[in-house]
Amino acid sequence: MRNTMPQLRHVDKGRNMTTNTENTNMLASASRRDFIIKGSLAGGGLILGLGALPDLALAQSNSKYDQNTPMKAGEPEVNAWVSIKPDDTVAIRIARSEMGQGTRTGLAQMVSEELECNWKKVTTESPTPGQSLARKRAWGEHGTGGSRGIRISEDYVRRGAAAARIMLVQAAADTWNVSVSELKVDKGVITHIPTGRKLTYGQVAERASTLTPPDPKSITLKDPRTWKVAGQPYARIDTANKVNGTKIFGLDLQLPGMLCASVKSCPVFGGRLVSYDEAKVKNLRGVKGVVKINDSTVAVVADTWWRANTALNALPIVWDEGQAANVSQSDINKMLSDGLNEQGDFWQRKEGDALGAIAASNKKVESVYFTPYRAHFNMEPMNATVKITGDRVEAWVPTQNGEGSHAALSEATGIPLDKCEVYKLDAGTGLGRRGGTQDFVSYAAKVAQKYPGVPVKVIWSREEDLTHDYYHPIAMAKMTAGLDAAGNLTGMHIKVAGQSINATLAPMAIKNGKDERQLQGLYEKGPDAQLGYQFPSLLTEYVMKNTHVPVGPWRGVNTNQNGIFMECFMDECAKAANKDPLQFRQALMQNHPKHLGVLNAAAKKGNWGKPTAPGVHRGIAQFMGYASYSAAVAEVSVKGNIVTVERLVFALNSGHVVNPYLTREQIEGSVVMALGAIFNPEITVENGRIKQQNLDSYPLLKLSSTPRVEVVLVPTYDFWGGVGEPTICVVGPAVANAISAAIGRPVRNFPLYKENLSLA
């Protein structure tokens, strides 16, 4: 059972992680089984109160249709990916989660492209994890993290759509008793060329569903250069109900008889719940009870969430804060800086004798960088709703990993997977928090167990959300390089000390003490996060320094700090070599044409080498993550201690571009998150607990500080890269390098208030 369960953890496409290979293999075999036609639907698991979400939530929202409507079990279909109604409406099944990144629209565009249906007739619906399980994972992976939503599923999704088209056309040929070679199809209308007769997809869908599906391997997919629907800047298909309050998020669910709960965990990670005085709150209005969720977490349940949360705040709780109660930020910082003097996991990447080359060099450059903890601060606070009736479990979850939520539900309740069902709700951002860590689902399940037959909506207060996150890992780096007399780089030594995400979430991914994931972006080989430089000699090492603070993936994950370390240091090296930062990089990138290509594209768009306006300085950076190549040019002005970002130019090569408009929006979004991260106050630890509780102490970037972002997309059409995360890692170094150019000294301590700088 355990082996067939979906991975609970976030799976970042770290190249040496066995789990990824396993997942990929699982996907490959699943795709071969995907072509299940009507009539062979597996039983079981499909009758668990399906329809509860569409009926209730749609009624609540006064809508007729939501793009996230769960698929109805047993609904007629051409194959797993496509159901066509007699009125020619095409329901495209989307297994990946939507949290604003636009994957739903992109996947629908790709399906529509291969299906040759009428885009105006496209709707979407979501297969549930339970339905997928019952059909031997017909829809493959549901997980939506690591910028994988499209790039990892594009092949089987497109083949599924093409197979459906072939079956529909065959059904028309059978109807007319003619050869398919005499038919053409356009926008869901099949024409018999010799006679001009026409049939619509809706008219032949039922017949198509009875045909034997083609072997997916026999299908020739369209060349993306010829795409007409995919590749276009189409409007999102799910915007309309986001501007009038009718979109139902997890936080908004109102199910009949529903109770609400607020949770509180020990303020110090690793501490324990000793006792609480339920009598003090049980008579408060609306309160139904107090539930101990686990050794360190308690919930108050009430008729409304505000009452639950108010009572929780009034609940006397005794904690045993444990050993970490005395840990402060300075202890953690010292542990990391000490780590820079220790030997790391030798040798993560060793090419030539870097230490020897640096020692023998004409000039040595050495810098130490610091990047802090960061919280996700998803706009929609963490939540999940669970209802347990007898031996059946239903959950409504804003999740980045429906199958992970499904597994967490089963694990928390002890009820088998095939008796559990998850209705995925579009999330009010995910940012990595709602994928590999499903604590919020487990908590809701534990509370719901105490209230059989009653749906319980568990919402974390913002304060709980901010103080019990899986934070962006803290890190330091000592970067050392040698230059020869001509200013050529002879050796590079990268030593990173910091917390390990795998140590928190996936210890089994740490092989022989080596945790390469923390060196994301510095890998020797692609395809995911390859370093774009060919240094004459190179040594990378990682000194693992774990604390009691849990860490996890946060948009861009380890490319955030590694991009800063590498690219800020490249500028320092260029300056020490008295060379132009662009030319200094270019000379080391000749073996990495794709990295070089985006760097040059950004430089061109950003007028690198041309005069700037008075007082304006430029910075440049390139880095790779999520199988895509990114580069940026920033223009800043610094007056006193105030930094104004005047212009930001990006180049992105994501291989293919499924929707250029939404790709640009992802880049715009990555700028806001990254700029906030390099300027705004960070997450710190005091007395073992997270000091920042809300926006007053953990402010986020606002519109007034956000520069205009210009984007040049430079796809090379020969690979599939991600879009949601790749560009985030070049924002910080491009801006920091521009600042350093402006103020005449390097900036190394992030966030930049530590360098006495703030954003206008």
Binding site: T239, N244, T246, S670, V672
Partner: protein, 165 residues
Amino acid sequence: MQLTINGQIHNIDVEPNMPLLWAIREVVGLTGTKYGCGVAQCGACTVYMNGEPVRSCSIPVSAVGGMKITTVEALSKDNSHPVQKAWIALDVPQCGYCQSGQVMAAAALLKKIPKPTDADIDNAMTNVCRCGTYQKVRDGIHVASGQKKLEDVLAQYDASTKTRG
């Protein structure tokens, strides 16, 4: 206690210190108004009191009295408010969670200043968006106020109304 929301009178029996946000969401049942921070910083809970934008998470219902509350659900019947039209045409929202508040703040700005400058937009639009839609929010206000043409804004993104599907 009586609350007048979107022209309807609601008789509610709640604690006087219950924030207006939670009365709207959990007692009246209008969930378009969002909880984001609870401390009047993020703006996801923006509603109008007598036409003025306020952060409902930090106003106790007892302080509302007879003031007229307007929530995002009542901005228009059919997404026809210029802000909603611009928001849809430009795909301003990403996840959409903060957008009830963004739309309400933008509509309030345009009512007060029909042709806002960028500085006006900077001052008025203090709502937090974690997707980072700010550039599109600014574009959306420019289009909704008629100061920029939709086609010109789309052209900046290599798109036009004809290529949007």
